[in-house]
Symmetry: C2
Subunit: 348 residues, 2 copies
């Protein structure tokens, strides 16, 4: 690979500068993304058309010196492939036609075949790898079992997670059964992405932070640990690194590091130096600028980038990122300020 900073940082090998990418870097803040999306007609068609998914995946790399590409897709492809009837409307968010509430609902679910039922994702991976042509590594991803279960049970986004928490406290065994089916699906999905060519995998546990410490272990982390152990990542310095990201998971970094993952995604609430003091160099830390900072004047963005780099301190094992996805209102010029500042302030 002509740029191996990102992989090297995940393997805690020396890097010439801190690698940087952004969650949702292929997204609505880019006019060229909006144009492709317009062409696709709707969000799901964009996800399900490998040529278009490839096109938007590559767009931010044309503009910025990013050190990794991330597959353009959605975390809800798995429940969609399970037949729940996904629709995504801007403003409304994702909705499922069918929700999972009963024993029968759970029993009727089956693990999707990644090449048959999610072939469009694997085709996109193969196409993007070809187009990237060894320039930067490609990140594949999945939602975490807990996070996918929240959407499947609630039927969409939620403020209070009422239905899933009711199931968790009233019928925990049923929820475990559902989480086991999702976990099997995630493993098969990520392993297929690896076979198709992704060079790093990331698990997004967007909603793990709404749990108690004990419930996080029992209903989210336990299943992510199973995923980490079952991935066909190879071993040693050629392995495919895996990153776990629990938004709101700052209290549980030690437990997350113990799963055997290579990297932990941090949201912006924690000071990265404090995180490093807690987990040492067992894992790489990815993050963690507040995405809202991209609305600041250029000097303030640069100051914050420098602060995070200084807070992380010496040594490899840092991948720069935002603490959550970039929002659609951001001026694309600000992203250049951010990306360039990371490389400038971290040159060794």
């Amino acid at each position: 690979m002509s740029n191996d900073r990102f992989i090297n940082a995940l393997l805690r090998k020396p890097v010439d500068a801190t690698p940087v990418w952004m969650m949702r870097q292929a997204g609505r803040y880019l006019p060229e993304y909006r144009a492709t999306r317009e062409k696709a007609g709707d969000f799901l068609t964009l996800c399900k058309t490998p040529e278009l998914a490839c096109e938007v995946t590559l767009q931010p790399l044309e503009r910025y010196e990013l050190d990794a590409a991330i597959l353009f897709s959605d975390i809800l492809t798995i429940p969609d492939a399970m037949g729940l009837g996904l629709s995504v409307n801007e403003g409304v968010g994702p909705r499922f036609e069918r929700t999972i509430r009963t024993e029968k609902d759970v029993e009727n679910l089956s693990v999707p075949d990644p090449e048959d039922d999610l072939g469009y994702v694997m085709d996109a991976v193969r196409l993007i790898r070809k187009e990237l042509d060894g320039s930067v590594p490609l990140i594949g991803f999945s939602g975490s079992p807990w996070t996918l279960a929240t959407y499947m049970i609630e039927g969409g986004s939620s403020k209070d997670f009422r239905q899933i928490k009711t199931m968790m406290y009233q019928a925990p065994e049923l929820l475990h059964k559902l989480l086991s089916t999702i976990t099997e699906s995630v493993i098969s999905y990520l392993n297929a992405q690896i076979a198709a060519g992704v060079q790093t995998v990331m698990v997004f546990d967007t909603w793990g932070g709404v749990l108690t410490t004990n419930d996080y272990e029992a209903f989210s982390l336990q299943y992510m640990r199973k995923i980490i152990k079952a991935l066909n990542t190879g071993s040693g310095d050629d392995r495919i690194p895996a990153i776990l990201f629990t938004k709101g998971g700052g209290l549980w970094l030690e437990q997350i590091a113990d799963t055997g993952c290579d990297g932990i995604g941090l949201d912006w609430s924690i000071e990265i130096g404090d995180a490093k003091a807690r987990v040492g160099d067992r894992v790489t830390l990815q993050g963690n600028m507040d995405p809202a900072m991209l609305r600041a004047p250029d000097d303030r963005i640069r100051q914050e980038v420098k602060h995070i780099i200084d807070s992380f301190g010496e040594g490899s094992g840092h991948v720069f990122n935002l603490g959550h996805g970039i929002t659609p209102d951001i001026d694309p010029e600000k992203v250049k300020v951010y990306v360039d500042a990371v490389h400038e302030f971290s040159q060794s």
Copy 2:
């Protein structure tokens, strides 16, 4: 006072059982609350009519062996008294007619006079104290400056805090100016509540958890520290204890304890034994059962109450509470299970 468990626990004095109350204990889950609310016509009239506010404050104490009453009111009374035009509609949430966005908006604000502009709150405090007649202590409260500022700037509830974060990163001095005015208002408001008779004060920092560690210190905790220092709480064993509650603040317990507050409110994400290990017996810990647990079977609720009591362990300095407010859908019978279990499992 015939029941001084709550105050004693806040002063880390011995108690015969762990005191318990609930955030939003006077709330929509109670049919008698809904009846009084119906009589009032709307939520704000209920807040602004001392007799009705007193009535709903006392309702949960008739049903359950709670160890404290909390003034029925709303955190948005201060910005309402500043003239922002508050309306509260169920389903929609609170809305302000006028938002604070510019230098001029901030300059035009003045600190409300608590007896003139918020006299209905002080009248309610005096009436409730009279009706309680020394049975249990009365808790007064305010929103934190940061949390009040989020509503004043956004104009209501927010998912992404876009406007206030933009101000924070683009015009931090303007936001500090606003926070200073709100802080003065909170100090004067809480001191008036103390003069009117509340026996504990609590500051609700509902949205402090959306900040980075440095921004939390600069834009939220700094101002709460000023409040703690400026309260007319008296001193020694007769003092009025003060509790700070930052939802999502589990990473910052040491800094919160350092403010000199008597108690820290915990949301449900942290294990209370871990919290105690971090802050020792410098402060009392209040919390922290997940409100969703009140939808569980009785045995599961009792098991969770016992778990939290065991996790806290020996010694005084624990006030049992939920990690956030009780939700309207809860069966009132479940609250009895919860309250009684706290006393049963903590009898010394």
